[in-house]
């Protein structure tokens, strides 16, 4: 399977990027065929962080398997938990109280902002700008503090559970989210001043890693990667769940298909998330935060599928139930895997320096790809 590294018969060079390369953000291993500096072929090799989460889930009950999914795409752990809870609720036909629905959506959008902030800092760091990382983490820290106060954890929350949410909101929650919104709005111009408006940055991003609309569809790209190519793929708009059908927000679309378009989609998505939170934060209905459910959940026999929009794209949860307390089979359709498969097509024929600029805008989280 692995060709020997070195020079091939045609005079091309085979080199490894990763699995321990600072620009790959984790254990992504790319075997690249290079002709001089031009990329001829890119082959991702996966499996370095495979934890067999899907198999693990088969031995866990429907309450227990939710927490494991926080470890897949750890930057949008709330949304993963949300998807799993929705799938279980769909199967059991549990009616979630409206208060829980609103809390879940606010948490989802806070997670999306936190994830995009981290991506923004890490991507700028890939391109050689180190200080944006500190600025993005400064605002992200405010969100993790809010999460810590309400959910009790900073990264792997396990706050959304089948039937609602685990605990009620902290009394300070609304006040702190409002102060975060005003803080974020005042600091957002700094982001554009530092990175987006920079001519050097724009020249490195424009026209690099172009993915056409047709290719984005045929590779199965979702999320900001597809929306940067003009494919309308926002699950929150197309198949609304919870209270997304009641809030006003725009699906951010760019038509360029290059790295800069993907960059702009994510930057503008942060503003849309702020818009959603602003509409909901003053209108959290009173009532129960959890539906009355049995201690042991039993799903009826059948197959259930639920899709949610994570910070990276569409996450699908497919449960096959035999009627017992544990699932017979669980399959996760992770957004990162499909987005990564388009990487080889995007960088073919470009220079190796552009690989980092392209990979940075895909926002890859390797545990999500490998599971």
């Amino acid at each position: 399977m692995f060709e020997e590294l070195g020079t091939t018969a045609e005079g091309d060079m085979l080199i490894n990027i990763g699995p321990q390369h600072p620009a790959t953000h984790g254990v992504l291993h790319l075997v690249m065929t290079l002709n001089g500096e031009t990329i001829k072929k890119t082959e991702p090799h996966l499996g370095y962080i495979h934890r067999s989460i899907e198999k693990m889930c088969e031995s866990l009950t429907y309450r227990q398997f939710v927490y494991v999914t926080s470890r897949m795409d750890y930057l949008s752990s709330h949304i993963n938990n949300h998807g799993c809870s929705l799938a279980v609720e769909k199967a059991m036909q549990i009616e979630v109280p409206e208060r829980a629905q609103v809390i879940r959506v606010i948490m989802d959008e806070l997670t999306r902002i936190a994830s995009h902030e981290l991506w923004w800092g890490a991507m700028a760091m890939d391109l050689g700008a180190f200080t944006p990382f500190f600025y993005s983490f400064r605002e992200r820290e405010t969100i993790t503090d809010i999460m810590e106060e309400t959910c009790g954890a900073r990264l792997t929350m396990n706050y959304i559970c089948p039937g609602g949410v685990m605990m009620d909101l902290h009394p300070d929650f609304q006040k702190r989210v409002k102060s975060f919104i005003s803080l974020f709005k005042s600091k957002f111009d700094e982001y554009n001043e530092l990175v987006t408006g920079n001519i050097i940055f724009q020249n490195r991003m424009k026209g690099v890693g172009v993915l056409s609309k047709e290719d984005a569809i045929s590779y199965g790209c979702t999320g900001p990667t597809a929306r940067g190519s003009g494919v309308s793929s926002d699950i929150r708009k197309l198949y609304p769940y919870e209270v997304y059908s009641k809030v006003q927000f725009d699906e951010v679309l760019e038509t360029g298909g290059d790295s800069f378009s993907r960059y702009m989609v994510r930057i503008n998505e942060m503003l849309q998330s702020i818009k959603i939170i602003e509409q909901l934060i003053d209108n959290i209905p009173e009532g129960e935060f959890q539906a009355k459910t049995k201690a042991v959940l039993k799903l009826p026999k059948g197959e259930f599928y639920q899709r949610v929009e994570t910070a990276r794209g569409e996450l699908g949860i497919y449960i096959v139930s035999e009627g017992g307390t544990t699932p017979h089979r669980i399959k996760f359709r992770s957004p990162g895997f499909s987005n990564l498969s388009a990487l080889g097509h995007m960088v073919k024929g470009s220079k190796i320096g552009d690989l980092v600029a392209t990979m940075g805008t895909l926002d890859l989280v390797i545990p999500d790809i490998d599971r």
Binding site: Q64, V68, E148, G152, A153, E193, G197, I199
Partner: protein, 158 residues
């Protein structure tokens, strides 16, 4: 014309670089904007959130009594086998046999702080504490017995 465009580009780049440097310069000169906390030095003033999940503890009152009936609901709820409960039978005042806990073993090294055991507990005996400094030299020190020596169940808890 190519040369002129090239030189223009360089100046444009320099200008946008200076625009970005203005942000950096602002924070360089305004020290009250610094939000970094010097962690090991600020331990005296460090306040964790009340709900922060650091470890599982058992609530004991001043008479060294707890509310654990040994029902094993937490043991069943745990996804990792972190909790192990060993029960014993005690004779109560009327001479009847009654179930009570002997040891409540908690493996901190396996715990992922998912809070499922606390939710499952019917008598609210266990809770999460915000203590997060768990480093030890020997792994066996992370296996803890949560019920204190000599403690017994509160009267009236079934």
């Amino acid at each position: 014309m190519f040369i002129i465009d090239y030189i223009k580009d360089i100046f444009k780049g320099l200008k946008s670089l200076l625009t970005g440097m203005r942000v950096t310069g602002y924070y360089f000169t305004h020290h009250k904007e610094i939000i970094t906390e010097q962690y090991p030095d600020n331990r005296a003033t460090l306040k964790m959130a009340d709900r922060f999940r650091g470890e599982v503890v058992m609530i004991h009152d001043e008479n060294n009594e707890h509310a654990c009936t040994g029902c094993s609901a937490c043991e069943l709820a745990c996804p990792n086998g972190t909790i192990k409960i060993i029960n014993k039978f005690e004779l109560n005042a009327e001479g009847k046999k009654k179930k009570a806990i002997d040891t409540f073993i908690y493996h901190l090294e396996l715990c992922t702080m998912c809070n499922l055991c606390v939710v499952a507990c019917p008598t609210d005996t266990i809770k999460m504490e915000p203590n997060f400094e768990h480093s030890v030299y020997d792994r066996s020190k992370l296996t803890k017995v949560l019920n204190r020596p000599g403690s017994k169940i509160k009267a009236g808890v079934e």
